[in-house]
């Protein structure tokens, strides 16, 4: 098994607010292998975006990385000096944000925004940087790159803006691409194109992609492995097919069950309750309040347990079940 490209261990991020400390990310551990597409799925507020920001060390006050390690390509990111980290950002690890139009600077041409990345990260001269910009715009499927590169964000459609963002992210051939809700707000057909683009580029460049989304459909389509997050914690990690075929964690099962399917009688089963407040988070399992399988032992926080197939779950009920089944 190849060594992981990105290894996050016990990452915890807190936000200091007027009303107290919000534990946005709690002891999260994740691995991203070379060349794979990992999906991180969860409701809003589950801590997925914050985790991505933490990898790039972009968590700003009032947020704070309280503990954890993030190893990228063998290097510990959290202890790097700031300028070394700056060289990692955009060059080795890149991020694509949701709402592409607001993530582009409105007063600088899109071409310029890409070209300068070449200048900064690869020390290319003006003309060469511009040529590479045009190349990469073509690569992400933007027609007439020479014309588009001279335009501003407001002159491009949402889908095109997202392609530009992806171009920006891939400009310097990063090893890892973090995509935060890249298809939210896009037309279904455009979204599909974007996902195809991401998968294609990933395969071509050998980069790993972390796809953060709340949309299970996106995950099923595109990802090799999936991590499910709930209330700042990772509750299940598995290969996509295995996760959808046999989800183990009660939360995942509820999520999968709530996807409307064409071949079944549609029975909408919303998950009862709401995500617990991360302000006064319960010390035990954070899903306990909504879980049909809750028991006394759930007062204690469950640990991620991985089986031989690589399927990991953090749930007491599941562990007990397996133990019983083995006897």
């Amino acid at each position: 098994m190849s060594e992981a490209l990105l290894e996050i261990r016990d990452l915890t991020v807190h936000f200091a607010t007027e009303d107290g400390i919000v534990e946005a990310v709690d002891s999260v551990s994740l691995t991203v292998r070379h060349g794979e597409i990992l999906g991180i799925v969860g409701e809003s507020g589950s801590g997925k975006s914050v985790t991505a920001l933490a990898v790039l060390r972009l968590v700003r006050p009032p947020g704070r990385i309280v503990q954890g390690t993030i190893r990228f390509d063998g290097e510990e990111l959290l202890s790097l000096p700031e300028d070394a980290m700056r060289r990692v950002r955009g060059a080795k690890i890149a991020m694509v944000f949701q709402s592409p139009r607001t993530a582009l600077n409105p007063v600088i041409t899109v071409g310029r925004q890409i070209a300068r990345l070449f200048e900064i990260h690869q020390a290319l001269g003006g003309r060469e940087a511009w040529q590479r910009t045009l190349d990469i715009l073509g690569l992400v499927g933007i027609p007439e790159p020479e014309r588009r590169a001279r335009q501003y964000a407001h002159q491009l459609s949402g889908g095109m803006c997202q392609r530009v963002m992806i171009a920006m992210a891939l400009a310097t051939s990063p090893r890892l691409l973090l995509a935060d809700e890249p298809t939210t707000g896009l037309d279904v057909s455009i979204a599909a194109q974007i996902l195809d683009l991401l998968r294609d580029l990933g395969r071509r460049t050998g980069a790993s992609i972390v796809l953060i989304t709340h949309d299970l459909g996106v995950v099923a389509e595109t990802c090799d492995r999936v991590a499910v997050m709930h209330a700042g914690q990772v509750v299940e990690v598995a290969e996509t097919r295995a996760l959808f075929a046999a989800p183990r964690h009660p939360y995942t099962r509820a999520l999968v069950r709530s996807i409307p399917r064409v071949d079944r009688e549609v029975v909408m089963e919303p998950i009862p309750g709401t995500v617990p407040s991360l302000l006064a988070a319960p010390p035990g399992c954070r899903y306990a309040a909504r879980c049909p399988l809750v028991q006394r032992v759930c007062d204690e926080r469950p640990v991620l347990v991985t089986d031989e197939g690589g399927h990991a779950v953090a749930c007491h009920a599941v562990v007990l079940e397996t133990v019983v089944a083995r006897r």
Binding site: A94, F97, T102, N105, P106, V107, R116, Y152, Q155
Partner: protein, 338 residues
């Protein structure tokens, strides 16, 4: 073409405002106590002479006719006469505008050179001593009447430190002003190479420009800071961080470029403050400009200058706002390229 329509639209909006302006200034002057014919004729004139002058000035005509004559007169450039100087108001204006212009420009320079960087740095180094200090200055500065600031500066600069000249005008009494090209002493002195005039003019410009500049700086700094803060929180700044752009570049490049555009509109507002402050500062420093002229006419109830001055100021204000809107439209690609 999007921008052309925007331009046209803005220009058209100006017309009703200008009409309203002339109406208001006419009404104001109409209400002025006293009989302008009497003032013109002099205290010793007989009633017949006064009546004659009244007919001459058209004061016996109905109100709307007087208004019409007023507006057509304005458009022709006939701004009436000043009863105190005895000269056409247009003449007086021409003589005094450069003085006010020079003071206004100098104050703008002071305000912008100090205020904008202060606002930017305040936003970038939020909640530090610098930030709190500049915010204090801002809040305090807005509360200080400009006549007071000027007088205090005179006390400290002239009386205590002997750094500034006595507040008696634009240039020392024994230094002849430079040959008049633009009317702005500093510009003319530079152009004609007149060093002594340049020195004296700058020396006299110092305190009044500081006073007025300070009065205007406070709101400017506040607004710049607010704009910059908002932009530093925006998505594209976060994306720029994530792309690995060096900090300096993100803040002083990307963010600042966006922040400076709304600052252009600020100048329209600032101009209003400047016009108000001008009057007072010119009085305190015996600066022979329009503001001084206006105050004197108002106090002596001299109708000619007043009605023209009021219109002039309003027109300038409208014009400046128009220019500001146009500049903004040009600077912001979102408007320029609809």
């Amino acid at each position: 073409m999007g921008f052309g329509r925007y331009l046209l639209h803005r220009l058209l909006l100006v017309v009703p405002t200008l009409v309203g302006v002339t109406l208001i200034s006419f009404v104001l002057v109409y209400l002025l106590p006293g009989n302008p014919a009497l003032v013109k004729a002099g205290a010793l004139a007989t009633p017949e002479v006064v009546q004659d002058i009244e007919r001459q000035m058209g004061l016996h005509r109905p109100v709307h006719v007087q208004y019409w004559r007023y507006v057509t007169g304005l458009l022709r450039g006939d701004l009436g006469e000043s009863s105190s100087t005895g000269r056409p108001v247009l003449e007086d204006f021409r003589q005094r505008v450069p003085a006010t212009l020079e003071l206004t420009l100098a104050s703008l320079v002071v305000a912008a050179l100090v205020g904008i960087p202060l606002g930017v740095l305040s936003a970038v180094h939020r909640d530090t001593l610098l930030d709190h200090g500049s915010r204090l200055l801002g809040v305090g500065g807005v509360a200080m009447p400009s006549f007071w600031t000027g007088l205090l500066l005179i006390y400290v600069g002239f009386y205590l430190l002997d750094l500034a000249p006595a507040p008696l005008g634009r240039i020392a009494a024994d230094v002849p002003p430079p040959t008049r090209i633009s009317g702005l002493y500093v510009v003319d002195a530079v152009v004609t190479g007149n060093l002594s005039a340049l020195g004296s003019a700058l020396h006299h410009l110092m305190l009044p420009a500081l006073t007025l500049g300070f009065a205007v700086m406070a709101p400017l700094t506040r607004m710049v800071r607010a704009t910059m803060l908002e932009i530093l929180e925006s998505d594209y700044v976060k994306a720029a961080w994530a792309a690995g752009l060096p900090r300096r570049r993100v803040v002083y490049g990307d963010a600042l470029r966006n922040a400076l555009i709304p600052v252009i509109t600020l100048f329209g507002v600032i101009f209003g403050f400047l016009m108000a402050g001008n009057v007072v500062v010119e009085l305190v420093f015996a600066w022979p400009g329009l503001g001084h002229y206006a105050v004197t006419s108002l106090v002596t109830k001299d109708p000619g200058p007043i009605q023209s001055f009021v219109v002039f100021v309003a027109v300038m204000y409208v014009f400046v706002n128009l220019v500001v809107d146009l500049l903004y439209g040009l600077a912001d690609p979102r408007i320029r390229l609809r």
